[in-house]
C-alpha cells in the first residue's frame, strides 16, 4: 500500500503566523530521549510553525501499525512515525472533523484513540500508548480540538512566510517552467508551434488585470495598445488569450464575459473581434457555463460526497449507489468530460478559433481547456506536460485557489480544481496506457492543494503570488507598502513550487508517480495531423457559431455591442436543447456539418466515455477514510512485474557483466522523471 506507509499530517489554518523559528516550545518535563525527539521535530517545522503539543502513539487502521508521535502545531496535526525522516511527511489540508472514539468527551477523559478526518478524505487514527504518558495524550487532543475550533473562524494564510528552512540556498531551477518570465512563455509558444501568436507584455505590471499572468499570448498582428483597449471590455479585464494551439491549426482561446456596461467604439470592437477571431475564418464561441454545474453546485456536491465517504457514513450498503448518485458529484464529472470531449472534436476536426467564454474566466475555462488538451495532445499526458498544463491553465491563469478551496473561509468555496482532478482520474482510468503519470501523482496533487509550504496553490492571483515571492522588487510603483519586504536572501527559495515534489515526497513515492502501464508507442509523433494552412484572413469571420446545449447555432456577430439586442448578453440559456426523440433520430443526420468533411479524428485524440456505467468513483482518493475499503485495492500488477523485471535484469547483469544493458534497463530515477527534459 502506497499511501499507508508514510506519516500523515493535517494542516490547521493558522491563527497568526509569527516568523520566528526559534520559538518552538519545549515541554520541560520531557525525558532526554523525548527531548531529542522534540528538537528533531522542531527541525522539521516550517518557519512560523510552533509545536503546541505532542504525544507518542500508534497509528492504526493500516498495516503495518506504526508507532510514532502525534504532533499538533499551530499549522497542522502531524503524525511522525519513529525513524522516518522529516522529508517523508505528507502534509495535508485543514481538518474537517475531530472525533474521539472511546471516551465520550475529549476534555473529561484521557483519550485512548483519536480519529481525525481530513477535509481531503484522509483519516488519521492514532491510539495512544499506555504507561505514564496519558497527560500528553490529553494535551495533544485538547490542543487539536482547540486548534480546530480556532481554525474554523475565517483566517488568512496570507501571513505565512514561506522560506524553507533547511533548503540549500543554491539557485535551483524549477522542475517545470513556472511561466513567470516572458522567456518561459516564448519557449512554450514555440513548442506549441503557434506561429501566429506572440507573447504580450502588456500586463507586466499587472495593470491590465491582477488576476491575469504577467505575460500571455495574443495574435501576432494585435498591438499591445489594442490588447489593452480590447481587454477593458471584458469582465475583470480578462480578454481573449490563446490557451493552446492545436498542431492541426486550430486555436483554443479563453476569455471572460463581455463587459456589457461598457460602450466600446467601433475601433475597440474591431480589436475585440480580431482577437477572438485570431485569424481564422470560423469562430466558435463556447458558452462555458452552459450545461456545467455552478460553483455552488460543485461545492454542495463535494460536501455531500465528503459526508458520504466518511467511515461512519449513514448510507447503508444497499443504498450506497443512490446515495452516491444523490451527491451529483459524478454527474458533474460526467458533464465536464462530455463538454470537453465535444470541444476537443471542435478543435480537432477543423481549423478554426474556438473561444471558451466564462464570465469570470477563472474556473471552468481552465478546467475545460486543460481537459481538451489532455484529450487532444499526447504531450499533455506526460508527467512534465501535465504539470506545465496545470501551471499554465490554473496557476498562471489565476484560478483563485485560496478562495475555491475554502482556505480563507470565504463563501465562494468550490473545489473546481478537485473536480478537474477527478475528471483526469476518470481519463486515467479509462485510458490506462495513455498517461505517463499515475493515480498516485493525481493523489499527491490532490493533497498538495492545501499544503502551506509553497505558494502555488495558496494564492488567488498571480499578482499576489508574485508579490509574496518578491518578484517585483523593481516595480515599486505597484508594490503595496503593507507587506514587508521579504529578506533578500529568501528570494531564491521562494521559487519553490508545488512541483518540487521532493520537498514532501520520498524518492520511492515519486517513482510511483510514473504509470507503469504507460505505453508511449501508442502515441508516435505521426499522430499529428498534417499542418493545415492556417487561414490568416483579414476581415470579418465568415462564420460564427455558438456552441451551447451540445449543439452549434449560428451567430450573427461576435460581440454583443454592435447591434442590440446582443446574443451572448441575453445568455444562451434560453435556447432550448434540441429535443431528440427516437423518431426524429431516424431522419436526422448526426455528425458534423457535411462541408466540414468526414474528417477522421486523429489517432492521438481520446474520446472519453461519459455514460453512467463508465464514470467511476475515485475510491483511492475519496474512500481513504474508510480503510476497510482501501485495503483491498490490489497492488498494481504492472509495477509488480516491472519490479520483477528489474530484479531479474539486475541478477543477469551481475552474472554476465558483458551483456549490455540494452533497452531493458530503463532506469527509473525520480530525477529524470521530474526534471526538465530540455
Amino acid at each position: 500500500m502506497w499511501w499507508g506507509g508514510r506519516g500523515q499530517s493535517f494542516n490547521i489554518a493558522p491563527q497568526k503566523a509569527e516568523p520566528d523559528v526559534g520559538s518552538v516550545r519545549r515541554t520541560g518535563t520531557l525525558e532526554p530521549r523525548s527531548c531529542q525527539l522534540g528538537s528533531h521535530l522542531a527541525s522539521g517545522c516550517l518557519p512560523g510553525e510552533q509545536i503546541l503539543a505532542w504525544a507518542p502513539g500508534v497509528r492504526k487502521g493500516l498495516e503495518p501499525e506504526l508507532s510514532g508521535t502525534l504532533i499538533c502545531t499551530n499549522l497542522r496535526v502531524t503524525f511522525q512515525p519513529c525513524g522516518w525522516q522529516r522529508r517523508t511527511l505528507i502534509h495535508v489540508s485543514g481538518l474537517s472533523r475531530v472525533q474521539l472514539l472511546r471516551p465520550g468527551s475529549p476534555l473529561k477523559f484521557i483519550p485512548e484513540e483519536i480519529l481525525i478526518h481530513g477535509r481531503d478524505f484522509r483519516l488519521l487514527r492514532v491510539a495512544f500508548e499506555a504507561g505514564g504518558l496519558e497527560p500528553q495524550a490529553f494535551q495533544v487532543t485538547s490542543a487539536i480540538v482547540q486548534a480546530r475550533a480556532q481554525s474554523s473562524q475565517a483566517q488568512q494564510y496570507a501571513g505565512i512566510s514561506l522560506s524553507k528552512a533547511g533548503q540549500s540556498s543554491g539557485s535551483r531551477k524549477p522542475p517545470i517552467p513556472l511561466l513567470e518570465t516572458s522567456e518561459d512563455w516564448e519557449t512554450e509558444r514555440k513548442k506549441q508551434g503557434a506561429r501566429g501568436w506572440r507573447v504580450s507584455t502588456v500586463n507586466e505590471r499587472f495593470d491590465v488585470a491582477t488576476s491575469l499572468p504577467r505575460y500571455f499570448w495574443v495574435p501576432k498582428r494585435t498591438l499591445d495598445s489594442e490588447v489593452r483597449r480590447a481587454f477593458g471590455h471584458f469582465h475583470q479585464g480578462r480578454g481573449p488569450r490563446l490557451s493552446w494551439h492545436h498542431p492541426g491549426g486550430s486555436d483554443l482561446l479563453r476569455c471572460g464575459g463581455f463587459y456589457t456596461a461598457s460602450d466600446p467604439n467601433k475601433e475597440h470592437i474591431r480589436a475585440v473581434e480580431s482577437m477572438l477571431q485570431a485569424g481564422h475564418s470560423d469562430v466558435v464561441l463556447v458558452d462555458t457555463a452552459d450545461e456545467l454545474p455552478s460553483l455552488t453546485d460543485v461545492q454542495l456536491a463535494h460536501l455531500k460526497l465528503r459526508a458520504l465517504c466518511l467511515p461512519d457514513s449513514s448510507a447503508a450498503e444497499e443504498k450506497w449507489l443512490s446515495a452516491l448518485e444523490g451527491t451529483r458529484w459524478l454527474d458533474y464529472v460526467r458533464s465536464c468530460l462530455r463538454k470537453a470531449s465535444d470541444i476537443s472534436v471542435l478543435v480537432t476536426s477543423r481549423v478554426r478559433s474556438v473561444v471558451l467564454q466564462e464570465r469570470g474566466d477563472r474556473d471552468f475555462n481552465g478546467l475545460l481547456s486543460s481537459l481538451v488538451q489532455l484529450l487532444s495532445a499526447p504531450e499533455a499526458r506526460t508527467l512534465l506536460g501535465f504539470q506545465s498544463l496545470v501551471q499554465r491553465e490554473w496557476v498562471a491563469a489565476g484560478h483563485p485557489f485560496l478562495t475555491r478551496l475554502g482556505v480563507t473561509g470565504a463563501s465562494e468555496e468550490a473545489p473546481v480544481f478537485l473536480l478537474f482532478l477527478d475528471c483526469v482520474w476518470q481519463l486515467l482510468h479509462q485510458f490506462p496506457a495513455e498517461f505517463e503519470f499515475s493515480e498516485f501523482f493525481l493523489l499527491a496533487l490532490h493533497d498538495s492543494a492545501r499544503v502551506p509550504d509553497t505558494l502555488t496553490f495558496l494564492r488567488d492571483t498571480p499578482w499576489e503570488r508574485g508579490k509574496q515571492s518578491g518578484q517585483f522588487n523593481s516595480y515599486t510603483q505597484i508594490y503595496t507598502p503593507g507587506y514587508s519586504q521579504p529578506p533578500a536572501g529568501n528570494s531564491v527559495n521562494l521559487q519553490l513550487s508545488v512541483w518540487d515534489w521532493d520537498l514532501r515526497y520520498s524518492s520511492e513515492q515519486i517513482l510511483q508517480f510514473h504509470n507503469p502501464g504507460y505505453d508511449p508507442e501508442h502515441c508516435p509523433d505521426s499522430w499529428l495531423p498534417r499542418q493545415q494552412p492556417s487561414f490568416m484572413v483579414p476581415g470579418p469571420p465568415s462564420s460564427v457559431w455558438l456552441f451551447s446545449r451540445g449543439a452549434l447555432t449560428p451567430l450573427n456577430q461576435l460581440c454583443p455591442w454592435r447591434d442590440s439586442p446582443s446574443v451572448l448578453a441575453v445568455s444562451s440559456r434560453w435556447l432550448p436543447r434540441p429535443a431528440i426523440s427516437s423518431e426524429s433520430l431516424a431522419d436526422q443526420e448526426w455528425g458534423l456539418p457535411s462541408h466540414w468533411g468526414a474528417c477522421p479524428l486523429p489517432p492521438g485524440l481520446l474520446l472519453p466515455g461519459y455514460l453512467g456505467p463508465q464514470i467511476r468513483l475515485w475510491r483511492r482518493c475519496y474512500l481513504r477514510g474508510r480503510p476497510e475499503v482501501q485495503k483491498g485495492l490490489s497492488a498494481p500488477t504492472i509495477s509488480g512485474l516491472q519490479d520483477e523485471l528489474s530484479h531479474l535484469q539486475e541478477l543477469l547483469r551481475r552474472w554476465t557483466p558483458r551483456v549490455s544493458p540494452e533497452d531493458h534497463s530503463k532506469k527509473r530515477d525520480p530525477n529524470t522523471i521530474l526534471s526538465q527534459s530540455h
Partner: protein, 747 residues
C-alpha cells in the same frame, strides 16, 4: 466533392461505401435492391440442423453512431438458430474476428437464447406471442446474452413475413419436449464427431473414481466415503449415481427418504471441517410421520455429531436467505438496463443510472450471496465447524453457496480445470435444474431463475477484485454464461444426471445400440480456435510453485492468513451448548415449523463475521490461499463486459483494461524470457515457454469492449448534433465552404 443540392436537400448523404453497408432511406430502397440479390452469404448448417423458414430482403438495423443504418440480407430460422445472412464481411476483417465463435456467428441467435420478441406496428412496440392477426413491420429480438436485434420487414414479401415471424415465434416460444431439443438431432447426426480435447482434465464426477480422487485431494477421505448406493438411480433420480457421505452413515438411511435428510459431502477444508448439504424432508402433516422423521434425523445427527466430526452449523437456505423469486425479479429489472432499443432510450436511463441500478437490487443480491459465503467460510475456517447447507432440493442456492465457498477457500477451484470440475461437481452432479432455470423448453416462465448466472457474477466480483488469483479471465466467465444457451453441449441442458443418462440412451436399449455421445461445454475447442482460447486464460495468474506433487493440500499448505481468531476454551464451551439447541431448531425447521432468524441474527455470529472479515482484509493477500471479496457498497460492481458489450455507446476506443494488457503481456514475456536465461545459468530447465496471445499485439487501438466489440465504428464519433445547421442554408456560404473543403482535401 459534395454537390450543393445534396447538402441542401438531405443534410449530407454520404457516398455509398463499396459494400452495401449504407444509409438507407425508404426512397433509396429501389436503387439498392439490385445489389441485394448479388451478394448472399451461404447458410452454414450444423450436422442435424434443418432450415425451417426464411425471408429475403430483410433489413438488419445497425445501431451505431446513433444513425440508422441497415444491411440487407436474408433472415432464416432453423431448428437451432435464427440467423441473418448479409454481407457483413467487410466489417469483420480485423483483429476482433479472431475471437470468433465457431458455432455461433455474429448474427446468429440460438433459439434458446431468444428472450423476448417484439413487433413494431405503426411505430409502436408490442411483445409478440401466439397467433398473430397482423404482422409487424419491424421485428425486435432481445437475447438472453443481452444482444438486441432489429429486423425491418417493410420490404419483405408479405407471405415471407408471415412465415418467418410465425416461425420464429413458434420455435422460440412454444413449449417443447425434451426429446425435441436440437441437442439430440445434433448428437445423432454428429456421432463420429467426438473430438475430445486431450488437454481437458476436467473431472466430470460421473464415476466413483472421480469422487474418490476429490476426497483424496481435499483430505476428506478420513471421515467421508464415496458411495454407489444410487447406481442406476435406484434410490433417487435427484441424486447423482455416486456421491459422498459421512463414513459411519448406513446405506439404508440413504434409501429411507430417497436421499433426502442425509448429509451429503461437498468439500473438506484443510482443517478437516467439511461443507455438507442436505435436501429437506418432505413436509408432512401427520403426527406419526413427523415422529418418524424426527427420529430419523436424530439418528443421523447422532452419527454426524460424534467425534471425529466437528460441530455442525446449519444454514437453512430456504427460510432465511434469498428466495428464487427475489433473484428472478431483480434480474429481470436489471437486464432491462442493458436491453437498449435505441440510443435515445439509453440516454434517458443514463441520467438515473445509479438509482436504477440500485432499484434493481441485483448488486445487492450479489452482495448478500458473497456475504453468506463469507459467513460460511468463517465457520469452516475460524470456528472449526462443519457447515450444513439445507434447502428444499439442495439444488439452487445450495449449489451457488457451496461452489462460491470453494472458490474462495480452495485455490484449486480458481484454476480453469478446477473451476470446471467444481461446476461439474456442484451444479451438474448437484442436480441444478438447468433445463427449468434457463427455461430451455419454454414450459414455465416462473421457473426461469438465473441462479447460475448469479454465481458467475459473484465469481466475477471476486476475480475483478483479485485478478492475480484466477487462472481464467472475465472473458471466460462471459463465454461460459453464453454457452448456457448453445444446445449442442449437454452440460447445461438437463435437470439432473438421471435425466441426462436416461435420455442419452445409456439406460434403455430400445432406440440405439450405442449411447449418444454428447459434447461437453468444457471442450472449448468446439467454440474457439486455440488463438481465441488464449483470451480465456489470465496472463496475470501465477501458478503456485508445486514443490511436492503428491501432496496438494497438506499441513504445509495451510493458508497463510488463517486463524487469527483462536477459538478459546471459554468461547468454545458455550458453543457446545449452543449446538444442542441448534439441533433442535434444525429438526424443527426440517419438520416444517420454521423458526426464522434464530440462528443468523445472533450478535455473536455477526461479531465473529466482522472480525474475521476485517482481519483478513487487513493482511496482505495470498493469492493461493483463502480469498475473501469486499462487500462494501462501493465494491460490488457491474460486470461491464457481459452486460455492456453490445452497447456501442459504451465503448471507449483505445481505452479500458485491454489497453494495458498488451503492455502487460509484453512485460510478462520479458520476465519469462529473463527467467529462462537465469534458469539456464543454473543448469536447470523447466521455465515455461509461455506464449502471449498475439491477438493483442496489433498496433491498432482496441476498444474497451474487446473482444466483443464487433460493432465497429466506421466513422468518427457523433459529437455535435447541428441543430442550427439547416437554418444556415445560404447558397453563397455553401459555395465558399465547398472551396475551402477542397483546399483542405488537397493539402
Amino acid at each position: 466533392m459534395l454537390g450543393k443540392g445534396v447538402v441542401g436537400g438531405g443534410g449530407g448523404t454520404k457516398a455509398p461505401k463499396p459494400s452495401f453497408v449504407s444509409y438507407v432511406r425508404p426512397e433509396e430502397i429501389h436503387t439498392n435492391e439490385k445489389e441485394v440479390t448479388e451478394k448472399e452469404v451461404t447458410l452454414h448448417l450444423l450436422p442435424g440442423e434443418q432450415l425451417l423458414c426464411e425471408a429475403s430482403t430483410v433489413l438488419k438495423y445497425v445501431q451505431e453512431d446513433s444513425c440508422q443504418r441497415g444491411i440487407y440480407g436474408k433472415l432464416v430460422c432453423t431448428d437451432f438458430k435464427i440467423a441473418f445472412l448479409g454481407d457483413d464481411e467487410s466489417a469483420l476483417d480485423n483483429d476482433e474476428t479472431q475471437f470468433k465463435n465457431k458455432v455461433i456467428g455474429e448474427n446468429d441467435i440460438t433459439l434458446h437464447c431468444v428472450d423476448q420478441i417484439y413487433g413494431v406496428f405503426d411505430e409502436k412496440k408490442k411483445p409478440l406471442f401466439g397467433q398473430l392477426k397482423k404482422y409487424p413491420e419491424k421485428l425486435i429480438i432481445h437475447c438472453k446474452d443481452l444482444r438486441v436485434f432489429h429486423f425491418g420487414l417493410r420490404y419483405t414479401k408479405e407471405e415471407e413475413v408471415k412465415r418467418i415471424v410465425s416461425g420464429i415465434i413458434h420455435h422460440t416460444q412454444a413449449p417443447k419436449l425434451l426429446k425435441r431439443l436440437f441437442l439430440f438431432s445434433y448428437a445423432t447426426a454428429a456421432q463420429n464427431n467426438t473430438a475430445t480435447d486431450p488437454k481437458n482434465h476436467t473431472v466430470m464426477f460421473d464415476t466413483l473414481k472421480d469422487w474418490c480422487w476429490e476426497l483424496e485431494r481435499t483430505k476428506g477421505n478420513v471421515k467421508y466415503k464415496a458411495v454407489s448406493v444410487n447406481e442406476g438411480y435406484k434410490v433417487s433420480d435427484r441424486l447423482p449415481a455416486y456421491f459422498v457421505v459421512p463414513t459411519p452413515l448406513p446405506e439404508e438411511d440413504v434409501r429411507c427418504f430417497q436421499g433426502r435428510g442425509i448429509p451429503i459431502w461437498c468439500w473438506s477444508c484443510h482443517n478437516g471441517c467439511a461443507l455438507l448439504k442436505m435436501s429437506a424432508l418432505p413436509k408432512e402433516q401427520d403426527d406419526g410421520l413427523l415422529q418418524i422423521q424426527k427420529s430419523f434425523l436424530d439418528g443421523i445427527y447422532k452419527t454426524v455429531h460424534r467425534p471425529p466430526y466437528e460441530i455442525v452449523k446449519t444454514e437453512d437456505l430456504s427460510s432465511n436467505f434469498l428466495s428464487l423469486q427475489d433473484i428472478q425479479t431483480a434480474y429481470s429489472k436489471f437486464k432491462q438496463l442493458f436491453l437498449i432499443d435505441n440510443s435515445t432510450e439509453f440516454w434517458d436511463t443514463d441520467i438515473k443510472w445509479f438509482s436504477l441500478l440500485e432499484s434493481s437490487s441485483w448488486l445487492d443480491i450479489i452482495r448478500r450471496c458473497l456475504k453468506k459465503a463469507i459467513e460460511i467460510t468463517e465457520c469452516l475456517e475460524a470456528q472449526n465447524m462443519n457447515v450444513l447447507l439445507l434447502e428444499e432440493n439442495a439444488s439452487d442456492l445450495c449449489c451457488l453457496l457451496s461452489s462460491l465457498v470453494q472458490v474462495m477457500m480452495d485455490p484449486h477451484c480458481r484454476t480453469r480445470v478446477g473451476f470446471q470440475s467444481l461446476v461439474q461437481k456442484e451444479w451438474i452432479m448437484g442436480g441444478h435444474c438447468f433445463l427449468d432455470r434457463c427455461n430451455h423448453l419454454r414450459q414455465s416462465d416462473k421457473e426461469e431463475v438465473p441462479v447460475f448466472l448469479l454465481f458467475l457474477d459473484c465469481v466475477w466480483q471476486l476475480a475483478h477484485q483479485h485478478p492475480p488469483a484466477f487462472d481464467f479471465t472475465e472473458t471466460y466467465l462471459t463465454v461460459l454464461s453464453d454457452s448456457l444457451y448453445i444446445p449442442i453441449f449437454s452440460t447445461f441442458f438437463f435437470n439432473s444426471p438421471h435425466q441426462k443418462d436416461t435420455n442419452m440412451g445409456r439406460e434403455s436399449q430400445d432406440t440405439q445400440s450405442k449411447p449418444l455421445n454428447l459434447l461437453t461445454v468444457w471442450d472449448w475447442s468446439v467454440q474457439f480456435e486455440p488463438k481465441a482460447q488464449m483470451l480465456l486464460k489470465n496472463p496475470l495468474y501465477v501458478e503456485k510453485p508445486k514443490l511436492d506433487k503428491g501432496q496438494r493440500k497438506g499441513t504445509r499448505f495451510k493458508h497463510q492468513r488463517q486463524l487469527s481468531l483462536p477459538l478459546t476454551q471459554s468461547k468454545s464451551s458455550p458453543k457446545r451448548g449452543f449446538f444442542r439447541e441448534e439441533t433442535d431448531h434444525l429438526i424443527k425447521n426440517l419438520l416444517g415449523k420454521r423458526i426464522s432468524k434464530l440462528i443468523n441474527s445472533s450478535d455473536e455470529l455477526q461479531d465473529n463475521f466482522r472480525e474475521f472479515y476485517e482481519s483478513w482484509h487487513s493482511k496482505p493477500t495470498d493469492y493461493h490461499g483463502l480469498l475473501l471479496p469486499h462487500i462494501e457498497g462501493p465494491e460490488i460492481k457491474v460486470w461491464a463486459q457481459r452486460y455492456l458489450r453490445w452497447i456501442p455507446e459504451a465503448q471507449i476506443l483505445g481505452g479500458g483494461r485491454v489497453a494495458t494488457m498488451s503492455k502487460l503481456l509484453e512485460m510478462m514475456e520479458e520476465v519469462e524470457h529473463l527467467q529462462e536465461k537465469i534458469d539456464e545459468r543454473h543448469h536447470s530447465q523447466g521455465a515455461l515457454p509461455a506464449e502471449a496471445p498475439s491477438l493483442l499485439r496489433s498496433s491498432a487501438r482496441l476498444s474497451s469492449l474487446f473482444p466483443f466489440a464487433l460493432l465497429q465504428r466506421h466513422s468518427s464519433k457523433p459529437v455535435l448534433p447541428t441543430s442550427g445547421w439547416k437554418a444556415l442554408g445560404d447558397e453563397e456560404d455553401l459555395a465558399k465552404r465547398e472551396d475551402e473543403f477542397v483546399d483542405l482535401g488537397d493539402v
